[in-house]
Amino acid sequence: MSVLILSNSRRVLLPLQLHGSLQGTPPDLRGLLVSEVKAGGGTQEFFAPLSGSGIPAPFRGDRWCYAWRDEAGIPSLWVGFPDVVFSAHIDFRERLSVEALIGESATWEGLLSVARLEITLKPPPGLTLEAGWGETFAPLSPSR
């Protein structure tokens, strides 16, 4: 699954695509593996550890978080992204891949990928200072 996100987006919550059907209670995630490619050709990847599920309401875009939701018996995995992931830089991120990993189980050692999302970041909008120009503040003038 792939989504388009505008750079400089804030408080982003997205569903990940599950690799297979889940049996029983949805597992706790150990963390997210994030791989990113920048416009300048550089890459960066990191493992963002997670502790416990839950997305605060309102979500402030200040940290990684996740929650399982269940609609009519169909589970879905939602991830909250820190705003800084979408910050447009001089060398801004163009493509992101996010994988949700769970810890080892009786039948598996290491980390197992349960869901994934691919994101194409679109360039941020230009600066439009002309629009919506209000008259909120009076200009300062020397008072003495």
Partner: protein, 442 residues
Amino acid sequence: MSYQIAHSSTHVLIPVTFVYGEESRRFNGPIHPTDAPSVMVLYLADGHPLRQEMHPLRVTGEIERYPGKEWELRLRELPENLQAFYLGIPDSCFEDSSGGSPAWDTVSVQVVGTPLLSPARAYSGGVDIQLQPRVEFPLLPGFLNLAERFFPTLLPWNFMEGFALETFQPAPDKEQLLLRVDLKMDPFDKMPISLEKLWDPKNWLDAVVENLVPGHGGLFTVQGGCFYTRARKTTHWFGGRIGLEDRTFRTKAAKAISGLGPTKHGAWVFWLTCRDAAGRIGIPPVGVGRKGNSHFSIRHSLLYRIWAHGRLKTEVSLPGRPGPLLGKVPMSEAVSALGDVAELVIGHQTLLQLVRRASRSGWSAVDGGSLLSRGEAGERARDLEKSVAALERDKGEVMKDLEAVFDKSCGFFSWDVIGNPVLDNLANYLAAQTGDRVLSSQ
């Protein structure tokens, strides 16, 4: 799974994941050239026959920029025995033989490989790519984020309830400039970490009060200060140059601060130095005696230190000895590039305040009002855009490297920016270069 990539793109890398086995488990490597990994490529377009190709993949752990010549699979080691994989797609996929837009709309790639010693772990993975028309990237948002990383805001305008700018006389022959900033408790936003666990006087000494007096042309820096609580007590005193050594200073100051009225949620109080555009002290401040809504922010001290360093032009280098590095960038080059960024940030304080307010509401609804007239703001924005374009042209590669260094040490939490070791490294380098001169001589 698909990404959108612009026509005529170059150096294209795509994050890919591989799975193996009936349960589609994630493949975490290792990948060897002996696996003979190869890529099957399908080119699809309306009205054109399907085109299919197979290419061998060059497996590499290189970290240099992908040259875009041949199909590559790049491997990256991560903690927890994880590996990340990037597929390098040749530039030729994104342009036709005449150098124009390619005929196809979609490229589908699928990588397959079989480990020689464990064929049961044969892995595969791929992505679809939709080709899009190329658009020019606006530079200003990227510039603002770069500036925000290296010169982070310690106290943003939207956390301020109001302010008062006054003079304070600790002695009959001495007059100091005092700024009291009353805090706003925003139920929707977290308090800036600069006031919480990472509060550190070193970030505040020489911090810049951005746009305190619009159109002033110079800047105001923080010499010292304290926190004024709801219970009318002063705490968190800092700054050795404001007169704290005088036993009666704090009592007199507390009286002056409380004389500015009660505070609902507490207030920061700063002793300021006013500097002109050349960095000299002594220009009489305008706007003293003013109270009202805030139209300024307080920015990390690195902004002033780098800006002042550019004015001193001091570089100490020992012959035959390489200078220190920040990542792979020589520290002197890093400071020079950031010095240019600092010049623009300080030179466009009023405009940038308006822009930052706009960014909170999607770049379009500026509520800055008459801090600048509409035509003047448009003109200054165009000036800034030209300057940023020139900076990107001249020092863009250095700035990209600096961003990469910063990102590697930043944990993707907004408050990590203020405590980021890169800022400390830069501050230490500047201190070694200029000693106390930046702090005291200007």
